[in-house]
């Protein structure tokens, strides 16, 4: 490669960033090949001109502000409790636990056997399966709601046609939101219930604007309904639900609904 073949643009880029495996060889080639030297010089000029945008400086208290904004949304980890047992007692305890697990295993096996014999025993698992479906539906609903809120926050009121799909989506979400909210109320999750309540009020407003969404309507909705805050709440809830989804997906396989 050193003196016989020209360096490709990719090789020159790798050389520029110091990631080429044969840097010395490339360097030698660049000294003797005028074409490659010219190409490399152009590349350096182009990339040298690409500046890093300087962000607007954040205040000293920025970190605290960020922390305060997310603190309320975080749940405390249960924590790994300090052991109350002296280390010498661990080995016997492990044996006792193993025996207990054996007994428990035998019990569970018995229950499974019994359930296979009796179809009515599947009622409990049906209820669990329904709960898992609720998690999936909720995840999908929050995902769609988040997208709607992002679109609403960035919608341009000057283009009336652009707002039509938002209203149409809001109408669909409104019906779904009522069902999801009912489930949330029954499950006794106040944070979810409150967020869905706010979402419902916003969806009603968006869906029922008779003359479409003008710029003034959009600004009023963003301010009065605090769509930024609602978007943040929805994101928090969605990421919480997303954590439950893999478990639900595993358990859902083979479940009878």
């Amino acid at each position: 490669m050193a003196n016989t073949k020209h360096l490709s643009e990719e090789e020159l880029i790798e050389h520029y960033y110091g990631e080429d495996a044969t840097a010395a060889s490339a360097e030698r080639h660049l000294k003797v090949c005028a074409k490659c030297a010219k190409d490399y010089s152009d590349l350096r000029r182009d990339l040298g001109g690409v500046k890093s945008p300087a962000p607007v400086a954040r205040s000293q208290g920025y970190g605290e502000e960020v922390w305060e904004s997310i603190r309320g949304s975080l749940q405390v980890y249960e924590g790994r409790r300090r052991s109350w047992l002296p280390p010498r007692l661990w080995r016997p305890l492990v044996w006792v636990t193993a025996c207990a697990l054996l007994v428990a295993g035998a019990f569970v096996a018995g229950r499974v056997w019994q359930r296979r014999q009796s179809p009515t025993a599947t009622l409990a698992s049906d209820s669990q399966a329904r709960q898992r479906v609720v998690i999936w539906v909720l995840g999908d609903h929050l995902d769609r709601s988040e997208r709607l809120l992002v679109e609403l926050n960035h919608a341009d009121g000057k283009d009336a046609a652009a707002a039509l799909p938002i209203q149409s989506e809001a109408r669909e979400l409104l019906a779904a939101n009522r069902l999801v909210r009912q489930s949330a109320t029954e499950s006794g999750d106040p944070a979810l219930d409150a967020a869905l309540d706010r979402l419902e009020r916003l969806l009603v407003e968006v869906a029922n604007q008779p003359n479409g969404l003008s710029e003034a309507d959009l600004n009023r909705l963003r301010q009065e309904m605090n769509t930024d805050g609602l978007l943040f709440d929805v994101r928090v809830l969605r990421s919480r639900v997303m954590e439950q989804q893999p478990v639900a997906a595993t358990e859902l396989k083979g479940a009878s609904i």
């Binding site: 182009d46 001109g49 945008p53 962000p55 970190g63 922390w67 904004s69 975080l74 980890y77």
Partner: protein, 190 residues
């Protein structure tokens, strides 16, 4: 003495939620910087910072301490910024057409050595560069920012973007090629 990041992580996992605040305070400026470079504006960067630490807290159990907390949170920030740029991309595409026209830029930089025109030239370069950056896909943009502005290796970029190193390298190549194509008129008239 200042507690190490790993010590704080252990405290958080042991139930001390507020300890996480120290990590947020310590790393928020770095996260903001990378978020700003990827998203290109402060509002989006602020949003990325919030989401990064939120995700970081929720995934803290998966942080095994083999890498530094900075690298780990940096990876999450890149991912969050990438997601956000991807979401914004469809809206931005409509606006790109109205932005700076590189052909016009070429005409305006003809007399680049003249003193007062240096400022104009600089503005033209900035505008062209901004427009060129916006023409990149979310992955290309993120890969390029991490490589060119944040000086991250291919392996680090691949880890941040959850892709194979070769795919990360190709993303950087594509980004460089696109940027050069868009910036070329500036030099052609210079």
């Amino acid at each position: 003495m200042e507690e190490s990041d790993h010590t704080i992580c252990r405290a958080v996992l042991a139930g001390d939620k507020d300890a996480f605040g120290a990590l947020v305070v310590r790393h928020s400026q770095t996260v903001f910087r990378v978020a700003y470079r990827i998203t290109g504006n402060d509002e989006d960067a602020d949003e990325v910072v919030q989401e990064t630490f939120l995700r970081g807290y929720q995934k803290l159990q998966s942080f095994e301490g083999r890498s530094s907390f900075t690298t780990w949170i940096y990876r999450i920030a890149s991912n969050c910024a990438l997601d956000l740029v991807g979401r914004r991309k469809s809206n931005a595409e409509d606006r790109i057409a109205e932005d700076h026209d590189p052909e016009q830029g070429g005409v305006q930089v003809a007399d680049r050595k003249a003193g007062p025109d240096r400022l104009l030239l600089s503005r033209e370069i900035d505008a062209t560069q901004e427009s060129a950056m916006r023409s990149l896909t979310a992955i290309e943009r993120t890969a390029f920012v991490l490589r060119h502005m944040e000086d991250r290796s291919t392996e680090e970029i691949a880890a941040a973007l959850n892709m194979a190193p070769n795919a990360a390298k190709q993303a950087v190549f594509r980004a460089v090629r696109k940027l050069r194509r868009q910036l070329a008129p500036l030099w052609a008239n210079g």
